[in-house]
Symmetry: C2
Subunit: 387 residues, 2 copies
């Protein structure tokens, strides 16, 4: 009866709304047909809203990592000096991709669970005026921190360097003002706060970045952004477009517009605050201590002597049908992560918290049943001004 039943609470893929699911069920049109071109062009236009930009938004048939590679492959030439701000696994991924393209990579590593420090970035850029690009992870999914994109944008804009932002697990869940914050390349993926299945990525490029890309000579083909720019004028993609995902994206962007980006940000923040309150009430420890460093799309929670996080995840999955993420690399076995982005209502996080309470009780962790729910409901009541 409940084989497919689940509460998907990993930081992507995320649940897909019935509206988006149905939109994707439409008959597959030819990717060069006029009918699909019309949908494609409208969808690209609508995507500008979520990047808060006047620039074109490009649709790639790839996951987020493909889009990260596109950002590197169009900018970095061998021996170019680039600065990667590393706050976890996805910062490291930028390092690996940049090295694969022959870059001279400088890294600034920040303690896991903390954000990149704008003042340090400023110093490094002043000492290294030949840095061609600064790579920043908006939400570092592996630690659940949100980096200060606006502040770093304010520093990078006064240099020749480009600011390249991985907003894969952040965009639509948290604010990113592509134009106002002077971001040069921003990328995201379909299976995060946008609420589609995996397989589609979005890339947005500033005028400052285009000047660099136009001169770029390194090897690239599938991710050549100039090819995408050329083809978008013809309302199409250079290679086969991901037709059904574009249908879904079109509908998803409508739903996001209808809710309003600001309202969506507030919803994600409310849910984060509910989770954090519940975690404390259940005698658990948050991995990201400072509230302003805490992502609104994912929350990381520490294991301890009494709490084997892998055992907890197994019980949540098998007994309660709640799928949460574990830690990655150095944090494997040390934390678990609750994803709360995209198509998620505050009521859904209460369900997750109920399951968490039960699972904690089941492994003998010292909690009071109902305590997490009480704390989370109080946060929601305060948000609604219920006395």
């Amino acid at each position: 009866m409940f084989k497919e039943y689940q509460h998907l609470r990993i930081p992507g893929p995320t649940p897909v709304s019935p509206e988006v699911q149905r939109a994707m069920d439409r008959t597959i049109l030819g990717h060069r047909s006029g009918a699909f071109s019309e949908i494609f062009a409208q969808t690209c236009e609508k995507a500008k809203y979520v990047f808060q930009t006047k620039e074109d938004v490009f649709i790639l048939a790839s996951t987020g990592t493909g889009a990260l590679e596109a950002a590197v492959a169009n900018v970095v030439e061998p021996n170019d000096k680039v600065l990667v701000l590393v706050t976890g696994v996805f910062g490291e991924r930028f390092v690996k991709i940049a090295k694969a393209y022959g870059a001279n990579v400088m890294t600034l590593k920040f303690d896991l669970g903390t954000t990149a420090k704008p003042e340090t970035v400023k110093e490094v850029l002043q000492q290294n005026p030949d840095i061609k690009a600064v790579f920043l992870t908006h939400c570092e999914t592996s630690t659940a921190v949100v980096n200060p994109v606006e502040k770093i944008g304010n520093i990078v804009k006064d240099t020749d360097a480009l600011l390249i932002v991985d907003s894969v697990s952040a965009l639509v869940g948290m604010d990113l003002k592509m134009d106002d914050w002077d971001v040069d390349i921003a990328v995201t993926a379909s299976h995060k706060a946008i609420g589609l299945p995996p397989g589609l990525a979005l890339v947005c490029v500033s005028q400052k970045a285009w000047k660099v890309i136009e001169k770029h000579k390194g090897p690239k083909f599938y991710f050549d952004l100039l090819a995408y720019r050329k083809k978008i004028k013809d309302r199409t993609t250079p290679y086969t477009g991901p037709v059904s995902l574009v249908y879904g994206l079109s509908k998803s962007l409508d739903l996001i517009k209808e809710e309003g980006l600001e309202n969506g940000f507030k919803r994600h923040q409310l849910i984060r605050d509910m989770v954090r309150a519940a975690v404390k009430a259940l005698n658990l420890e948050l991995f990201v201590q400072e509230e302003e460093a805490a992502s609104c799309t994912v929350t990381a929670i520490k294991g301890n002597n009494q709490l084997d996080v892998e055992q907890l995840r197994k019980i949540l999955r098998e007994d309660y049908k709640v799928e949460v993420a574990g830690g990655q690399q150095d944090l494997k076995g040390k934390i678990f992560r609750i994803g709360h982005l995209g198509y998620i209502h505050p009521l859904d996080i209460l369900t997750t918290i109920s399951a968490l309470e039960m699972a904690l009780k089941q492994i003998g962790y010292p909690i009071s049943l109902g305590a997490g729910i009480k704390a989370a409901e109080e946060v929601w009541c305060n948000d609604k001004n219920i006395g």
Copy 2:
């Protein structure tokens, strides 16, 4: 974003599982095609399991009321004496239908919120040996009581009367042994514990009932069960079969078999017990006091001076996307009802209780946030033997 989002907690229609939803999405076959006949015949065969019977089960394109009418129209002739056991709105419906067919209707009314009393039924039958049929509502949806079908079956079987049971909101959620309990006609509908959309009803008929039906002379056409019996031998229906609902029913019966009827009954009972515990912990009053009289598919809760049930339902619906039912007829405004049947996991009822807590807080009802969840989680923990 959340226009379609909801938690449907009325006593039917109920949520439809993704498996069943997808099954219904199949291309519509011709209702007389060999391909559909194959599916139809297999589905009728599988339906015997849920009635716990060796008799044929007939599929009608109608709602539950159509099936109730079929039960009356094939048995009752003008001036026939019938006994209707009335425990609420759906007992009254049997009265109305039987009167529409010219029956001489005797009613035994029991206080709302209590069950029919077998000893009273026994007395009436002894005093009226000419009663042709006894009509009984298995779960009286309007008051949330479950009537003692087995005990009444044990009485009626020793008379010439037929026992006709409306199991619309009970079958699959609570035990009904068609053969072992000597039920003569049992009916149910698709949009209840079977977990399909509305539009399909099931009717099962005993050999004792066929003897009466074969002699029946009253006016009937669409609901003529002899026509259905004739056509089921040809693996089809007398009129157009509800093709997509049959696809869904086939899948739903597979899921029910896979879970096992007994496991499904236990799940429904656990959920009922969770709701009842939460209701008490939230200082609310159950409409059905005795646990053994309380349905496992729906729970009715009283309003009071501090609790306007219609206001509560409005807040649940508008602010929490939880749809619960109100009272009907004499109970309108006096109770609200939480449906918990079909495709519902224990975690889902915790979500409903969370919303109920928040909504009660919102209208100023004196509760402690988390208290309902704590009580419900404790019931679930006990069920799982978690200390």
